[in-house]
């Protein structure tokens, strides 16, 4: 039996995983919430009494997926392509036992997608609109079930599991574009691993550090429990070397396994990459049981920046491909499960195709869906809202509109009509461009503009106003005005077109004006 199946068999999926997380994450109001996400053994105990029936089919699918994973080069798609293949979902009608129900009132307001739809929720359903539910589940927060990243999750959990069983250290490096689910995968895997092992867990986002000393401090803080907070506070003013020593000690003589996640790891890069080397070096310390997981965007960060690591023990690279069309469809379906009548298949597919063709950033797909739902809701509101849920909703057009809005050019998106004087400036800039002056100085541009104004019998503005108009055009993303240094004269400032001729023509939206400007300049 593979690793995932172990978890499935114990029934630790979906709702109770979430509930467990909730319990851990949400502190009582008075208590100062702990920074560490260390597992508390107490929280685990009620889970054993839970009794879930997991669909038979899910096991089959998972094992298939895992089997395919034996050869990592084959591209494994998510098994959840169609909306009825809701694999990891607990069977709806078997409500969880009493304990979970007791918790529900507190969680009710934040019910997520895979909360078992019990009777309570049905009553809630009548109160909430479909849109609200859909939007809540489309939020960018960590879902309870990651779709489309099964391969990576399995790879990570199995390797970490093996390392923990062997009490060995190890390093991983996860690379991928923004919005490909790297952090979510790690968090999900940790959630799964916590069912099986006891280990310390620290999560550090390297974006929030400024000096190397910060990273040591953050690492210490993220690993410490509440009782050790005082110590950390004492070390707050300690110099970086001392902190580094403390961290090294912490990792070298550890009785338990420790998982340390460094998100946005490329921020640690400095001139000699001392901190990066040191971070990977923690795992190589004597009798260390550290499992280091680094996350960053660039694929070759470890090879490019840290060539010396190759000699010792190169970190294991897990690459996150951008989400494919099918992945995006599966994710959106999964999220929109409760409001499935809201966006139909065609709408979801359009969104998925568009997003996967451009970036594969799942955040964008979720956002587009949210915006489309916004549109539907607003239309409903403007209709008086009398129809309620009976209003026929065709999501396709809304998604299409949103996609057009989002991926159209900036000017069409904003549908900005430029004021006349700015149009004249832009036209004279384009005319100069046509005559071969690629980046005219402000003075040259002003001369051309003045000529054009004379030809069109428009009173020209003065040059400082023209200069400020250039800056407004820069704000529209059409021009680029180079800023001269203090010593240089302002007349040296040059102007460049930022977009191609056609976009400029679109922005001008006035061919006759441009023709007359061109005739005066040329």
């Amino acid at each position: 039996m593979t690793f995932i199946e172990n978890f499935e068999a114990t029934g630790l999926v979906g709702d109770d995983v979430k509930a467990l997380r909730r319990r851990k994450m949400s502190p009582t109001p008075k208590e100062t919430p702990s920074r560490s996400l260390r597992p508390r053994i107490k929280a685990k105990s009620p889970q054993k009494t839970l009794n879930f029936t997991v669909k038979k089919r899910s096991n089959a699918i998972t094992s298939k997926a895992v089997n395919e994973d034996k050869c990592p080069m084959t591209c494994v798609r998510s098994p959840l392509k169609s909306p009825n293949a809701v694999a990891f979902r607990p069977v709806p009608d078997t409500a969880p036992c009493g304990r979970t129900k007791e918790r529900q009132p507190a969680l009710k307001s934040r019910q997520r997608l895979f909360a078992s739809p019990s009777a309570e929720q049905d009553s809630e359903k009548s109160k909430e609109t479909v849109e609200l539910r859909a939007k809540r589940s489309l939020g960018m927060g960590l879902p309870d079930q990651l779709v489309g990243r099964d391969r990576e999750i399995t790879l990570l959990t199995e390797s970490v599991d093996a390392l923990m069983r062997d009490e060995a250290p190890g390093t991983f490096y996860l690379a991928g574009q923004p919005g490909t689910g790297k952090t979510a995968t790690v968090r999900h895997s940790i959630r799964l691993l916590k069912k099986k092992h006891k280990f310390d867990y620290g999560f550090v986002n390297c974006m929030s550090i400024r000096t190397p000393a910060d990273i040591y401090r953050l690492v210490l803080e993220s690993l410490m429990g509440d009782d050790e907070k005082v110590e950390v506070a004492r070390t707050r003013l300690a110099p970086a070397d001392q902190l580094a020593d403390t961290v090294r000690q912490r990792f070298s003589d550890s009785k338990r396994s420790t998982v340390l996640v460094l998100d946005e790891m490329d921020q640690l890069a400095s001139r000699n990459h001392q901190v990066l080397y040191m971070a990977f070096g923690w795992a190589a310390l004597k009798s260390s049981r550290l499992i280091l997981i680094g996350i960053a965007n660039s694929l070759d960060l470890t090879e490019r920046l840290l060539p010396k690591l190759k000699l010792a023990d190169p970190p294991r690279l897990i690459q996150f491909r951008p989400y494919s069309k099918d992945d995006v469809i599966a994710i959106l379906r999964h999220r929109l499960f409760e409001a499935d009548n809201l966006l139909d298949n065609a709408a979801v597919e359009l969104c998925a195709r568009k997003v996967s063709a451009l970036t594969g950033d799942i955040r964008k797909a979720l956002d587009i869906c949210q915006m489309a739902i916004d549109k539907i809701q607003r239309r409903k509101d403007s209709n008086g809202g009398g129809g309620g849920e009976s209003v026929p909703v065709a999501g396709f057009k809304d998604v299409l509109d949103t996609v057009k809005d989002v991926y159209g050019s900036v000017m069409t998106r904003a549908s900005v009509t430029l004021p006349l004087q700015q149009k004249l400036l832009l036209a004279s800039c384009l005319a100069l461009y046509r005559t071969g002056v690629k980046s005219p100085t402000l003075v040259q541009l002003y001369r051309a503009y003045k000529k054009a104004c004379d030809a069109l019998h428009v009173p020209p503005v003065q040059d400082h106003e023209a200069a400020s108009n250039c800056q407004l055009l820069e704000a529209c993303g059409l021009l680029l005005v180079s800023k001269p240094t203090r010593k240089q004269s302002t007349s040296i400032a040059t102007v460049q077109l930022l977009v191609d001729e056609r976009s400029v023509m679109n922005a001008l939206n006035d061919n006759t004006l441009f023709a007359s400007v061109l005739s005066t300049v040329g």
């Binding site: 955040r363 956002d367 949210q370 998106r413 549908s415 302002t490």
Partner: protein
Amino acid sequence: MSPGLARRANRAGRPPCGRSPCGRPITRLFRRNEVVLADKRSMHCASCYGNDEEVLCQDLFTLQLVPQQKMNSQTPSSNLRSRNRKPASNSSPSESDDRRLDCRKTKKTNGDDSVNNENIAPTPKSCKKSPKRRAKALSPIPPPTPTRIIDVRRTPRSATESRKSVGPKKTAKSPATPRVRKREAKKVLLEDVDDDSLEAVRRRLHSSAVPDRMPCRDEEFNFVRFFVSSTLESESSRSLYISGIPGTGKTATVHQVIRHLRNAGIEFRFVEVNGMRLTEPAQVFSEIYRQLIDDGDDQVVTRISASVARRKLNHMFQTEDPERLPIVLLVDEMDLLCTRRQEILYDIFNWATMSESRLVVLAIANTLDLPERILTHRVSSRLGMSRQCFRPYSFQQIESILHDRLANSAAVENDAVEFVSRKVAAVTGDLRTALDIVRRSIEMALDTGKDVLTLKHVQSAVKELASRAPVEMIKSCSTQSKLLLRAIIAEYERTGHDEMPFAAVIGRYKELCAIDNVRPLPTSGAYDCCMRLASSRLLVAAPGKCCWTRKFRLGLPVEDVNFALFHATQ
């Protein structure tokens, strides 16, 4: 009371930026009296405080002269503030929390505008205080304890004691945190609509006067309102990027949305930060944290370092806390928070991707495509795709807004309004400019004793606003300086190089003098004259000592100088 104070308070002219009426820089003035300014920012933009600052330092001068008997219970802060506020908006600290929240809200929306108010329009009228008000403001002069004066910018609060108890903690020095000035809400209401005189119209036209409605911005208003309210309802987190050139009502619309939602009874907390008002980008965290803590309970943290605030906020938004109200965060002038690594914007938008945070981020900047052009992928991915652009006003829109603000007053001709709106819409579409022009032209009309605003006034106001300081300066130069400038232009036209040694300039200059039949200055005098022009940056002098070989060039475009010289001779 001292006669000096009255004289100074009566003085109509404003001192130049950052200086006391006596011409001393304000910061130095404060130090001499061993008073440290309460926050860093007030040193930076002393000019923004305008009249307030003036009053402040006048009082510093005179406080020592005041006998102790005149002490009364009034604190210096409330006394100083009372000069500039309407009695109606005076809120006492003892009132309930709701009231406090409420007045803070209005303060946030209007406090800054009232600063602008004094800055933009130093009208002689507003500087003069009516005798009644002056008497009320100045008669009870408070005791001159320097520590109290530090508090000048704050409203008195019941939490003062708790702040004092935090005192020892403050000794751990952290970078000074800019604090929002606790100004009394000074709402310029559009109340006296019935008054139809030109003077009343002028008052109504202030760009800081807060309108109850925003005509011609319904679409944008509805979009933002829907965005915020639906996100709050669904208890999720999202962020919206609002763009638009200055003066298109971005911030005003957001504030109106907030007001509207509060009136609708939706509970949330509103935090506003402005990139322009921070001494450095990282301070945004301490500002947000301070506002969050300040609003909630009595525990007042006056000073918190940016890194600590950042850690606390990161933690706060990562943990689920059903007790906490959802937060609406307005980040104004977002482009100023772009650091090289963009870690600040990353953090802010990262909060908005976490469902636990229940945070709505509204980011405002001028640039239309900032997320695509400047932000890195990891930040723009978190920002999401929601955008709202505020288009520049068209001339019909400006016209209707102006009519709305003027309340169709008979004292203003329709032609004048149309001229202004066409003029502004053709150049920028910035409503603030339009309001400024109308206000300036009303002032001109009042100065000339007319009580109807005509096209002519507007035209002269437009001309005045269009003219430019350096050009004016050249126009008012001495004859010899003008000759020198002409000599430099002539030399530039002859050689085509914009830099030339003084020897060449003096040659040309002597020729021009001969033509104009002016007796030329001696060389040293001419050199001195050039250096004086250079000190006002009409000329730029290359570094060097030798007067003959030292190079000069024009500090302005040649066209400008020519234009100014041409007009000066007319």
